[in-house]
């Protein structure tokens, strides 16, 4: 466990040095600047748009961090040949992989936390500038605590993207290939509904069955997207959240275990 913690801490420190936090600052500035500008353009929809923009920015920034740091976790170590220096140390391969994964997830969690603070600060400011009648007109209050549900699911989605990136980088030595595979799986994972209903648009039952099979096998990233519902103040069933969280955690576990298995058998000679 100690070895895992040390690797995770190393990844976290390395990520921070990778100027990830600059992205967070850029995010906050973008959000604050945009909130002023867009309020002039949106015919009273500034609060909705600030909420949408904030959640989309968290998701997008997080995605970049997860993919581009995630693929570097292993692939860059192999490319730079620094993996040899690590493997001669008293760290077992599974500890190395799990530590790497937890380190990046920790970095993402800290980033998401800082972005959430900036997000709520902007929303609280906007809320203070709104009139009583305008506040009554919106479907959900500005600094709505229910937004945390969407943020938590974004976090879980990013944890899954990181696991995908980690898995891809264990069997591919090239960072670009790993990035392409991860982004490809992320995009494919947004089309779950289309894959599920594939048999309705094609005549071949085999292709339909393949589509349906892929729907169940590929990570369904669309399931983590509740941003619109939360912004509109619509209820989200706790059962849905529990099942989605369990799905995410199960998929992450599968990918980390698979990464450990691939990495353990990999010959770096």
């Amino acid at each position: 466990m100690r070895a895992i913690g040390l690797v995770a801490l190393h990844v976290f420190r390395d990520s921070v040095r990778d100027k990830v936090l600059y992205a967070v600052v850029a995010f906050a500035v973008l959000l604050i600047g945009a909130s002023y500008l867009i309020s002039q353009l949106t015919a009273g929809q500034d609060l909705k748009i600030i909420k949408d923009l904030g959640l989309a920015a968290m998701s997008l920034f997080g995605l970049f961090i997860a993919v581009f740091i995630g693929i570097g976790l292993i692939a860059k170590e192999i490319e730079r040949r620094s993996i040899y220096a690590v493997l001669v140390k008293p760290v077992r391969r599974h500890e190395f992989i799990i530590g790497k994964y937890l380190g990046l997830v920790g970095t993402l969690a800290v980033n998401l936390g800082v972005m959430s603070v900036a997000y709520y600060a902007v929303l609280a400011y906007v809320g203070q500038t709104m009139s009583e009648s305008a506040l009554q007109a919106v479907p959900a209050p500005p600094a709505d605590p229910r937004l945390l549900v969407a943020i938590a699911l974004i976090g879980l989605e990013l944890a899954l993207v990181t696991a995908v990136a980690l898995f891809c980088s264990t069997f591919s030595s090239n960072a670009l290939t790993s990035a392409g595979l991860t982004v490809g799986l992320y995009i494919a994972g947004q089309f779950g509904a289309d894959l599920k209903n594939f048999e309705q648009v094609i005549e071949s039952p085999v292709a339909g069955a393949v589509g349906r099979g892929l729907y169940y096998l590929l990570p369904n990233f669309a399931a983590f997207d509740v941003k619109a519902q939360v912004v509109h103040g619509l209820p989200i069933e706790s059962g849905y959240l529990a099942v989605t969280a369990a799905y995410g955690l199960a998929y992450v576990t599968v990918l980390v275990v698979a990464s450990v298995m691939v990495f353990s058998r990999r010959d770096f000679k």
Binding site: T42, A43, D52, L55, A56, L60, I187, Q190, A228
Partner: protein, 303 residues
């Protein structure tokens, strides 16, 4: 290359800052010169590169809400630009596709549906004059949120504007049947059926919209329409005065001063925004000046 400053090849900070300021000055100057010397071309007609909601919702991945916001901003800019320019030939051809895309990306976007209902159904030059598209958008809204009374109410509003008071009353009644609906829908349906199209029922409709809406653009629209109704009432009274004058003198009044001198009016009449009315000396018709915020009066003026 060797540095003359002797600072190891680095540009001194003060000189660097001065160079940056100087270059920014050059950039701004070039921008100003280009604007003055070369008249900017008329912006090309607006184009909607992606017009399929199905394609766009897929292309947006999990960022559909923010893409919907972008299309919403584009829709109101598209509509607002023509209104600000007071373009009487505006056709608003892209208004429906833009709102259709917005609501496909975010089916809960209430304001987009209601904005569309109001301005797609309004006759030119204030709107697109396409009540069919307004109703199509509202049908989509009702499918997404059957629990909201505002959408069937807005369908009734569209029929009201078309002068189909029976259907309007039918939809107001249907809106009243939605659980949690406001209590003025049943009286509105009754008044619409009985006296649809007169100023009293129009005033009731807009007053209800004003009192029940929290959306700023809708409140502003309702306030404007109520002031326009005041103006329409004033025009009707003034045309009565000019008709009386013509009966007495055998010709319409040449200008307002004649009516004031005649004792028919106490002063030069002004519309609800304080602008002098325009009197047509040939047939005594009264209208608002194009400079007035009341212009253009809605084409679907009540009787």
């Amino acid at each position: 290359m060797t540095s003359s400053s002797g600072s190891g090849g680095r540009l001194p900070a003060a000189r660097g800052a001065a160079a940056i300021f100087l270059l920014i000055g050059v950039i701004v100057t070039l921008q100003v010169v280009r604007e003055h010397r070369f008249a900017s071309a008329e912006p090309a007609a607006q184009v909607l590169y992606l017009s399929s909601p199905a394609v766009l919702t897929r292309a947006a991945l999990s960022f559909d809400a923010i893409v919907a916001d972008a299309y919403w901003i584009r829709a109101i800019q598209y509509y607002g630009r023509a209104r600000l320019l007071r373009n009487v030939n505006a056709r608003y051809d892209l208004l429906f596709p833009l709102l259709d895309l917005t609501t496909a990306l975010d089916p809960q976007f209430t304001v987009a549906y209601r904005f569309g209902a109001f301005f797609l159904s309004e006759r030119a030059p204030g709107g697109a004059g396409r009540p069919d598209l307004a109703i199509r958008l509202l049908e989509k809204a009702m499918a997404a949120r059957p629990d909201r009374w505002e959408y069937p109410h807005d369908v009734g509003f569209v029929y009201y504007r078309q002068g189909d008071y029976v259907k309007a009353a039918e939809w107001f009644t249907r809106a009243a049947q939605v659980p949690g609906a406001t209590n003025w829908l049943i009286p509105l349906a009754a008044v619409t059926l009985a006296t649809g199209g007169d100023i009293r029922s129009s005033r009731l409709l807009w007053n209800n919209i004003l009192s029940s809406s929290e959306e700023p653009w809708l409140r502003r629209t309702a306030e404007q329409r109520l002031r326009q109704l005041d103006t329409v009432e004033m025009i009707q009274q003034l045309e009565q005065v000019t008709a009386d004058y013509e009966r007495r003198h055998g010709r319409p009044p040449a200008d307002w001063e004649e009516l004031v001198g005649d004792g028919s009016l106490r002063g030069i009449p002004r519309d609800a925004a304080g602008h002098q009315f325009v009197l047509n000396p040939w047939w005594g018709a009264v209208t608002v000046t194009e400079d007035s915020p009341m212009w253009p009066l809605p084409a679907d003026n009540p009787r």
